[in-house]
């Protein structure tokens, strides 16, 4: 264990602990933009800098190991000044439209500007000029709000492995880009939306949820994705009695299967819930036309047809094909029913394809 002082409070941490963790143990609230506990460290936003006695430069706590005897000040005047200037530098390249932003209320830039009283930027030269339209149905890319934390790049690489995006150009002109700055649809992007999950601002948002409710207007109902048997945890964003979006549950305790990561279906494929085209009753085809039926009628009809086919053509003329969209238990029952009741081993499943 090593011992250090943080804002006058002595703390002991195991060797190798980063200062960020040590500061949090000491109760100091360190602002971070590029830091993400599930991603490789970048150390690039410099918001987490603190002052260490005897050091000329400020230290970025996310990438600096705590050392024995360090004396850290997390909110000294130099630290606050640096954070304010960094925020002003980011604001000067940021499209300030919080009132219509999908991330209003769930934005780290907004939170930190509020915390440090940064209303405007003294750097009043050229404004943001980074956005170009990307006509895909899922991910809104508005790089005029990007703060270049590169969390999206790292998530795309480290969580999904798609490597669809990286940094293009240098200096102030650096931006997040697909290969040759093309559209996501023409890249290796699989539209999982992990980039949206990790984006701390409103640069990456869901087009499917756009305009349907701000983060603080929706209730987050934690549930299991119904698309396949993997059983990913997700949060339905519910406004009134309607689902208006899906967000990740980034807590390994609550989301043990996927730790927040989702696929395109889970994250964006929820709009069927309130779709006008959604089937609400069973349908029976008669004379080439579908008509509505009750569950009792539909089940009786199915049972009698199965029975008729089995009697006429034998049990092996029937096969059961089940779906990954139902649970393991339901799939188990389906094969049990097929073998024990219908009397055939013709069982298969879409996840085997």
């Amino acid at each position: 264990m090593i011992s250090l002082t943080i804002d006058g409070k002595e703390v002991q941490v195991p060797k190798g602990t980063m200062l960020l963790e040590a500061c949090r143990i000491a109760g100091a609230d360190i602002p971070t933009l590029c830091y993400d506990p599930d991603l490789k460290l970048a150390g690039s936003c410099r918001m987490c800098v603190v002052e260490a006695k005897g050091r000329r430069n400020l230290l970025a706590t996310c990438v600096t190991p705590a050392e024995n005897g360090m004396e850290i000040h997390t909110e000294s005047s130099d630290v606050i000044e640096a954070r304010k200037i960094i925020l002003e530098l980011l604001l000067s390249r940021h499209k300030l439209e919080c009132h219509t932003c999908e991330s209003d209320g769930d934005c780290k830039l907004q939170d930190y500007c509020y915390r440090y009283g940064v209303a405007d930027s003294r750097f009043d030269g050229e404004g943001p000029h980074f956005t170009k339209p990307d006509p895909n149905p899922f991910i809104m890319r508005d790089y005029d709000k990007c703060i270049m934390c590169t969390r999206c790049v790292r998530a795309c690489d480290e969580i999904t492995g798609a490597l669809a995006i990286n940094i293009k150009d240098r200096g102030h002109h650096a931006k997040i880009s697909t290969a040759f700055d093309g559209n996501l649809a023409d890249s290796t992007c699989v539209f999982c939306g992990q980039c949206i999950m990790v984006c701390p601002v409103g640069a990456l948002t869901s087009k499917v949820s756009a305009g349907k409710g701000k983060p603080y207007q929706t209730e987050k109902v934690v549930t299991t994705c119904t698309y396949c048997g993997t059983g990913c945890t997700l949060a339905l964003n519910v406004k009134g009695d309607k689902v208006v979006g899906v967000t990740s549950v980034r807590d390994i305790e609550k989301s043990p299967v996927n730790n927040g990561a989702l696929c395109v279906k889970g994250r964006f494929g929820w709009d069927f819930i309130n779709s006008d085209e959604r089937l609400t009753t069973p349908l029976i085809r008669e004379n080439g036309e579908l008509r509505q039926a009750s569950w009792d009628e539909a089940l009786d009809y199915t049972a009698s047809r199965l029975k008729g086919i089995k009697e006429k053509h034998g049990a092996d003329s029937i096969a059961m094909f089940t779906s990954a969209r139902v649970t393991n238990e339901e799939n188990y029952l389906a094969q049990k029913f097929t073998r024990a009741v219908l009397g055939t081993n013709n069982v298969d499943h879409c996840a085997r394809l």
Partner: protein
């Protein structure tokens, strides 16, 4: 009268730099032979004792740097920084073109000290002819059998200034985007391809053969005691002799410029000198009696850096010069960290505003504040040093700025 002291460049133009046999005739590869007969620890001690400090810009004790490399690591690398990106600096090119074999020998000595048999030379993209020369030099050394099992490969950069920063250089050799890594871990522990790596400058390596053959005490006795040895300086700008010189490190700036350099060109008066390259401070006449060694320069807020000496005569417009410099840094910032990516861009904007006659006192205040934050909070040396030319000229040449400001309080104006 101040005089050159040639060690690394003693045989400049007298031997073929690519030819190992030529170099051996003037005593070459004796240092490596001696180094290989020593225990690695004793060898590192000898280099420490010589007081040799990095000639690339950071001035870190070379032997100390080597001692951080874990001896038991199975694979280690020796990397030579020949990125030499500071405008006005060309001393590493001169060393290669005059005495390339000393560099190779120095790298092999480092290899013997840390237990590495692979060296890489990272050469700036603007020097393809130097890469050719080095490849021939390595072939020649191999043919003479002097390098033993130590192999050296020359790699070429693509013209990014930031790749002179050792971790960005490593990223570039690995084939990645040239961006600095955060430190720690330092390259000595986790460097090229994740293994312990020593990165030293060309000049640092090239000193080693002479330290080994002539002894650590001899080297420690040259020049300034805390930054001993010779330093190759390159004079550019409004100076009569715009060329290179090898000088002891206790020579003063005035001696370098007015004695070796022959003073200011065309009979004009001296205005300022920028030492160490584009990221260096501008020094006024009053500070010229300062020795060029690392610490003396540091004490007055300047940096010896790469040894570039850019002289400006009385007619030069400091604000215009610094505006151009700020443009350079805007272009060369890699864009990784916020203070540098956005800071260099805003510095250039504000400098242009002032230079165009549209600035105010408030702009100067903003520049100084931005400069302070960049120096304290940027990720690597580029962002930390980029505002120094601005800072130092506001300090020493404030009147030149004031002259260009929009009149707001009866002072200045144009």
């Amino acid at each position: 009268m101040a005089q050159e002291y040639r060690v690394l460049l003693e045989y400049a133009d007298k031997i073929d730099p690519a030819n190992a046999a030529d170099y051996i005739k003037v005593g070459g590869y004796k240092g490596l032979e001696k180094a290989r007969g020593m225990e690695p620890k004793a060898l590192i001690e000898e280099v420490k004792k010589s007081g040799l400090r990095g000639r690339g810009g950071a001035g870190f004790n070379a032997g100390m740097k080597w001692s951080f490399v874990p001896q038991d690591a199975p694979v280690k690398y020796v990397v030579c920084n020949l990125d030499e990106g500071e405008p006005g600096t060309y001393k590493d090119r001169i060393i290669c073109q005059k005495n390339a074999q000393a560099l190779l020998e120095g790298m092999a000595i480092c290899g013997a000290a840390i237990g590495s048999n692979q060296g890489y030379i990272y050469c700036r993209g603007e020097y393809p002819f130097v890469v050719d020369l080095l490849k021939r030099a390595v072939e020649s050394a191999k043919a003479e059998g002097v390098l033993g099992d130590f192999d050296i490969e020359a790699r070429m950069g693509a013209g990014a200034y930031v790749c002179g920063e050792e971790t960005a250089l490593i990223e570039s050799i690995e084939g990645h985007r040239g961006e600095p890594r955060f430190k720690p871990p330092f390259p000595g522990v986790e460097g090229l391809w994740g293994v312990p790596t020593v990165v030293n400058n060309v000049e640092t390596f090239a000193c080693l053969p002479y330290i080994l053959t002539r002894g650590a005490e001899w080297f420690a006795g040259i020049g300034a005691p805390k930054y001993p040895g010779t330093k190759i300086v390159t004079l550019t700008g409004d100076v009569v002799n715009s060329t290179w010189f090898e000088v002891p490190t206790d020579m003063t700036l005035r001696e370098v410029i007015f004695e070796l350099g022959g003073g200011v060109k065309n009979g004009k008066k001296f205005k300022a000198v920028q030492v160490g390259g584009t990221s260096g401070a501008f020094i006024p006449e009053a500070n010229l009696d300062c020795p060029i060694d690392f610490d003396s320069m540091g004490n007055m807020g300047a940096a010896l850096g790469s040894g570039a000496v850019l002289v400006l005569d009385e007619t030069r417009d400091i604000v215009d010069v610094v505006t151009r410099i700020s443009k350079f840094f805007e272009h060369e910032s890699c864009g990784k960290c916020n203070p540098c990516r956005e800071g260099t861009f805003r510095c250039r904007e504000i400098m242009e505003k002032i230079n165009n006659g549209n600035g105010s006192e408030k702009d100067i205040d903003n520049l100084q504040l931005l400069s302070k934050v960049m120096q304290k909070a940027a990720l690597c040396g580029l962002g930390q040093a980029a505002p120094i030319p601005i800072d130092s000229t506001i300090k020493h040449f404030k009147h030149e700025y004031s002259r260009k400001l929009v009149v707001t309080s009866g002072k200045g104006g144009h």
